[in-house]
């Protein structure tokens, strides 16, 4: 049964991979202008989804909690070995289901969204400027898009099934490179290429952390496996739970892991790549840059939570809180539909970091799942708007609720899910309500136990209000208030049926994701909760820091406090923004004028990118140019002068030859004659003697050289 489970999920990884390979090699030759490519890709990912469902069924019958095994051994080193392994538990299956489900939905949506890539005459890209002011037409890339997306799904699933850090790193890097390929999908646009490059470079800063963690743990523990296998072998988690675990090592490794997670999950200070990644097609933003790939950082921390010292967890929580608020502020001021959603993603990932940092892996993962549902919905709704209006500029949209009611309705579901609206006490609300409440309850319990860190409760509470503000602002600007650009409004057309259907499916998921499945004793929360993970470590040097137990967010008292205060914050946020845009109590433009400085600061996104360019990028490039200069003007001149010295020596020798030797031997013939005579003496016909001469000469040179050196050295 166990092997069946592992085989099934491995198959779920391999099927999209196979589809990607087939499409990459043969895609251009498929009939129907590549229309079939999409269905090959969707078929593969949907198959993976079905396999996951079967696996879930098998898992329920299985006796063990988790299945651990080895794909293959890279290298065997005495008792250690570097292996690629897998581990399957409830969380793996749950996230497999999540990824394949959303990927299938996004890909079906993409068949419509990228329809113009199929145009027989090529695609006209109005965003590309070429010399001569001719319209830019390029070949369609429908097949390439679906091949890359399939490859992404395979890589993401590999990341999830990984049973050790190395395998996870392989998946981690592979999703990174597919992200690169997809951000640069519109590669003719100058911003797309730069954004893709930036994404990889910033992520690689995090990857350095991942590598450092692997290096430290491998050297110190001798394994990279997270889980012990059936024979009870040493694993990182079992080592961390034992008394052998060294705090220094754990600290170094944790800092590395956190750095990796910050990069991938776009936290302060490495978040800048994510808004720029919106240069890719919108379905890519929905799948990679909000729902799945960027959550990998949270997943990594969730899996390695028992390795992280409590002090570092506290740092994670504060970092998450800062990111949560900063992302929310940027989203509130944003003027681009997709960028606002990207900042929202950053903010929500920050909330998950708070959950991890406060020791509640379950709440963070719960929010990861619900966020994936409503955020992919929001992005796909944004895609429908951009598809229908050809722009995502919030200053040119408005009043679209009448033009595209389905999109407006489903997006409203997403917005309500995002702000986590629900009725306290009744346990009724959209999916985001449950997960956000779980994190807030944990924060309330934490703040109660550690009053000095009360900020970690009030910041997310403030964040809840902020989320309500920017989420409803976005929705009002796009769908409700008076259209501000008549041309855009007039030409807006509703989403095609297939896109609409996907929106409805995802809206249903956003509503229901947190609810228990009737008839089955199974819900997302229970699946996460059933996954063994180990307790967070207790603090060693930060005296007095106490983490609440992982179940704190479920005790009634904290839950009630969290629910009520979150509801108040949210409702205040909603009322405030409604007062601005609907009731017109406050004039938005007047507000913008009154708060001109902060608004401009936020509109420029804090000038963080410019700051990084000045502080990090420019000095690095300067150093690089300096080294280039060093090669040309410092090292080479030394070499040249050495060479020159030889030439001078050779000239002297030439002079010596002509003046001394020539005059002595009187001309060339004489010299040849004497040479011949001279050589004759040595020509004994014995090879050994030649070699003896050769060696003797070389040795003599060596001895003279060392003698001379000796002289120069000794005073």
């Amino acid at each position: 049964m166990d092997t069946l489970l592992a085989n099934l999920l491995t198959l779920a990884v391999l099927v999209p991979l196979a589809a990607a390979v087939v499409l990459a090699l043969l895609g251009g030759k498929l009939p129907g202008h590549g229309r079939i490519s999409a269905w090959v890709a969707i078929g593969s990912v949907a198959t993976a989804f079905v396999i996951t469902l079967v696996a879930a069924f098998v898992y329920q019958q299985a006796s063990t909690e988790s299945v651990v095994g080895t794909y293959y051994t890279l290298i065997e080193l005495g008792e250690r070995s570097l292996r690629l392994t897998y581990a399957v538990d409830t969380l793996t299956i749950l996230l497999f289901g999540l990824v394949t489900f959303i990927a299938t939905a996004v890909m079906v949506y993409s068949t419509e969204y990228l329809h113009e890539e199929l145009a027989p005459g090529g695609v006209l890209d109005p965003d590309v400027r070429v010399p001569g002011h001719v319209p830019f037409i390029r070949p369609g890339r429908y097949n390439q898009f679906f091949a890359t997306l399939s490859f992404f799904v395979a890589s993401m699933l590999l990341l999830l099934i990984a049973g050790d850090l190395l395998t996870m790193f392989v998946g981690w890097e592979l999703v990174g490179i597919t992200s690169y390929l997809l951000i640069s999908f519109y590669r003719e646009r100058p911003l797309a290429g730069a954004a893709a490059t930036q994404a990889v470079i910033v992520n690689r800063i995090g990857d350095t952390g991942f590598l450092i963690a692997m290096m430290a743990l491998w050297s110190g523990v001798g394994t990279l496996s997270l889980f012990s296998d059936a024979s009870g072998s040493t694993s990182l988690l079992s080592w961390a739970a034992s008394s052998e675990a060294s705090t220094t090592l754990l600290t170094v490794a944790s800092i590395g892991l956190v750095l990796a997670a910050i990069g991938k999950s776009a936290q302060v200070p490495l978040y800048i790549w994510l808004p720029n990644a919106m240069a890719g097609p919108t379905p890519v933003s929905a799948l990679l840059h909000s729902a799945t790939m960027v959550a990998a950082g949270v997943y990594l921390l969730a899996r390695t939570l028992p390795l992280i010292p409590a002090e570092i967890l506290l740092g994670i929580a504060y970092l998450g809180a800062i990111t949560h608020i900063w992302g929310g502020c940027l989203a509130l001021a944003g003027t681009d539909f997709k960028r606002v959603l990207a900042f929202s993603t950053i903010s929500q990932l920050g909330l998950m970091f708070i959950g991890i940092g406060l020791g509640s892996r379950d709440a963070a993962l719960f929010h990861l799942v619900t966020h994936a549902c409503f955020k992919s919905l929001l992005f796909l709704a944004a895609g429908a708007v951009i598809h229908g209006c050809s722009t995502g500029d919030l200053r040119r949209l408005g009043g679209l609720a009448t033009k595209m009611p389905w999109t407006a309705g489903t997006m409203l579901v997403g917005v309500v899910g995002l702000i986590g609206l629900g009725i306290p006490g009744l346990q009724f609300g959209l999916s985001g309500y449950y997960s956000k409440e779980a994190i807030l309850a944990q924060a309330a319990a934490f703040a109660e136990a550690n009053p000095i860190h009360g900020l970690l409760y009030y910041l997310p509470l403030f964040g809840a209000g902020l989320t309500a503000l920017y989420a409803f602002r976005l929705w009002y600007l796009v769908f409700w208030i008076r259209p501000r650009d008549e041309g855009t409004y007039a030409h807006a057309h509703p989403a095609p049926p297939r896109m609409r259907a996907v929106l409805v499916v995802l809206a249903a998921a956003a509503i229901l994701a947190a609810m228990p499945i009737p008839g089955l004793e199974l819900s997302v929360w229970q699946s996460i909760h059933a996954t063994a993970g180990g307790e967070p470590r207790s603090a060693e040097w930060l005296v007095g820091l106490s983490l609440p137990t992982a179940d704190a967010h479920h005790d009634a008292e904290h839950s009630m406090v969290a629910e009520l205060s979150a509801l108040v914050a949210t409702v205040v946020g909603i009322l405030l923004i409604t007062a601005v845009y609907i009731w017109r109590q406050l004039d938005p433009s007047e507000l913008a004028q009154r708060f001109e400085t902060p608004v401009r600061f936020l509109r420029r996104e804090g000038r963080v990118e410019a700051f990084y360019n000045t502080v990090f990028v420019a000095p690095t490039l300067g150093l690089a140019s300096g080294l280039r200069w060093l090669d040309r003007h410092a090292i080479d001149p030394v070499i040249h002068s050495l060479a020159h010295m030889w030439i001078v020596l050779a000239r002297w020798q030439d002079v010596f030859d002509r003046r001394v030797v020539d005059s002595a031997v009187q001309g060339l013939s004489d010299r040849l004659w004497s040479w011949g005579v001279g050589l004759h003496l040595w020509q004994t016909g014995r090879l050994r003697q030649y070699v003896l001469m050769m060696t003797a000469a070389t040795t003599a040179i060596f001895l003279i050289a060392t003698f001379v050196w000796n002289l120069t050295r000794s005073p």
Binding site: L74, E188, M215, T620, I635, T695
Partner: protein
């Protein structure tokens, strides 16, 4: 067939082809090219067949056997105990196959060369003989002879078929490496004159693979109380690891093995090349014709790394151990310096050349942590991992750098320039060429699943136990690597249109070019996905070497 014939054929088949080529008329390119190709294919096939030969036939490469196999031992110059001593083990075999394969691919890449074709064929074949000979030699003088043979054809290939500043580049290359060679020769002579085979026990004499004549000589010398010198690498290795013959004061209070190691390492590090001895490389690469760059990066740089792992480190383990900190520092400086310098280049080929400096730095770092026994948390396993990583990195870099230079060459051949800022839009113009190029570039980035990752991972994992800071800095270089390669990709392959000169010559990849590039791409994928195909060959030897070094060092620690 005996090993003598088989291994000699591997080395000298190109030379035989060179003789045939010399007799052909110079004005008919067809026969010249095909005979050269045959002369280069023969070593590849012969080397590949070694793995499938039955183990008991005497001529075979048996997987899992850590020591030297298929030994050939013939007296060459008996007075000085110089032998024609050939053999293979897990350290040399992968590089032998790499060399043979890259020679063939580089030759196919040379198909368009018309200027002085006959001379080009001759030089190319002599070059191949030299390179193959280096990897098969187990006698120091024989090794040195082949090592030098490589130099001369390379000098002419750069100096006659190169670009604008070819004379400058060729002479710079020649002087740099000749300087290194002289140091190596002196190092070899120090080892020879301080060696004394009578110090070895009978069991060690058996392991050192000595000829009957030498054994008789040893018996006689023992009775007479004389010394017996040797150039036999295996015997020197046994001497260096288990006796004290090299440990006496030699010069300035340093022992013979210290001096020998410093001289040998200096010479080999020029070849690798290591900063600050690297400035020959960008010039030589940029001026050399594409196929010669492929050989230069793919094989010649490996001669340095191979020399270290075959000669300098096993024979002088104590000195290597003493100086491993210096080696590691040089390695990480090369990694960062090369990456940063690459970031500042505007010429695509120069960028790739500097990337070689950076990538080869990992080889030096891996070797350093491979000899770092006893320091930090280093175990024999860590050393083995470092040595394997260095070896793997050499093979992977051979594949990747040859591919990169070929890609630059294809673009240069079409457009006549290499300025990054004047490219753009290549993806749309040449989709197939671009797709294959991206795989090679991703491999160079160290993307998992492609060959560049494995070597770097092993080296990093091993280096941390020895010097965490150095390993951390080396890991950070991956950010810079992504920076320079991806900004090059952005400038060359992405973007809307090509604005540089000769746009009309931008044609899709030809069948001949596919024959060169596709094997490299496949190799990059296979080596990345299933490294076992190379590790199975090199691992037993790397393990043996790590154990020998560890034992040698502990011996010295106990003795000193």
């Amino acid at each position: 067939m005996t090993p003598l014939v088989w291994l000699s054929l591997i080395i000298f088949a190109p030379l035989v082809a060179a003789v045939v080529v010399a007799c052909l008329p110079a004005d008919r390119p067809g026969p010249l090219r095909w005979i050269t190709l045959a002369g280069l294919m023969a070593p590849l096939l012969l080397a590949k067949f070694l793995v499938v030969m039955p183990a008991d036939s005497g001529v075979a490469f048996v997987l899992g056997e850590p020591d030297v196999q298929s030994l050939v031992q013939v007296d060459w110059i008996p007075t000085f105990d110089i032998e024609y001593l050939l053999g293979l083990d897990g350290l040399s075999y992968p590089l032998l196959v790499l060399t043979a394969a890259l020679s063939v691919l580089a030759w196919i890449a040379s198909w368009t060369i018309t200027k002085g074709l006959k001379g080009y064929c001759l030089l190319f074949l002599v070059l191949a003989t030299g390179m193959l000979g280096v990897f098969l030699s187990l006698d120091l003088i024989l090794f040195y002879v082949f090592f030098e043979i490589v130099l001369f054809p390379m000098y002419f290939l750069i100096g006659l078929w190169g670009g604008e500043r070819k004379e400058y580049a060729a002479i710079k290359f020649f002087l740099y490496t000749l300087f290194g060679s002289v140091l190596i020769l002196v190092g070899i002579l120090i080892l020879y004159f301080t060696s004394d085979l009578t110090q070895l026990s009978d069991a060690q004499l058996v392991g050192a693979h000595l000829s009957d004549r030498t054994l008789a000589e040893i018996t006689a010398a023992r009775e007479a109380g004389e010394e017996v010198h040797t150039f036999n690498i295996m015997a020197l290795r046994a001497l260096g690891q288990s006796t004290e013959v090299f440990a006496d004061d030699f010069l300035f209070g340093k022992s013979a093995d210290w001096w020998a190691f410093v001289l040998l390492a200096f010479g080999f590090l020029i070849k690798v090349p290591t900063v600050p001895l690297h400035t020959w490389l960008p010039d030589a690469h940029v001026e050399a014709p594409t196929p010669v760059s492929m050989i230069l990066a793919g094989v010649l740089l490996k001669l340095g790394g191979y020399g270290l792992i075959r000669i300098a480190i096993p024979i002088c383990p104590d000195a290597a151990w003493e100086l491993s900190g210096v080696l590691a520092t040089l390695g990480v400086i090369s990694i960062l310096y090369g990456a940063l310098a690459a970031l500042a280049q505007s010429d695509f080929k120069r960028l790739v050349a500097y990337s070689s400096v950076s990538h080869m730095g990992f080889v030096v770092l891996g070797l350093a942590s491979g000899v770092s026994a006893g320091s930090g948390e280093v175990t024999t396993e860590t050393m083995e991992l470092g040595l394997s990583g260095a070896m793997y990195q050499m093979v992977a870099h051979g594949v990747v750098s040859a591919g990169l230079f070929f890609i630059v060459g294809m673009l240069y051949q079409r457009t006549g320039h290499r300025q990054l800022s004047r490219y753009g839009g290549i993806c749309n113009l040449l989709p197939r060429l671009s797709a294959l190029s991206l795989v090679i570039i991703f491999a160079a980035l160290g993307l998992p699943g492609l060959c560049g990752f494995i070597g770097e991972l092993f080296v990093l994992l091993s280096a941390w136990a020895y010097m965490p800071i150095v390993a951390g800095l080396a890991a950070f270089s991956l950010v810079l690597t992504a920076g320079y390669f991806l900004s090059a990709v952005q400038r060359v392959f992405l973007g809307p249109v090509y604005t540089g000169p000769n746009a009309e010559h931008l044609t899709e990849i030809t069948t001949r070019e596919l024959i060169v590039l596709v094997p490299l791409v496949l190799a990059a994928i296979c080596l990345g996905v299933y490294p076992e195909i190379v590790l199975a060959v090199m691992e037993p030897s790397a393990e043996l070497l790590a154990e020998q070094i560890a034992a040698g060092i502990s011996q010295a620690a106990a003795g000193g």
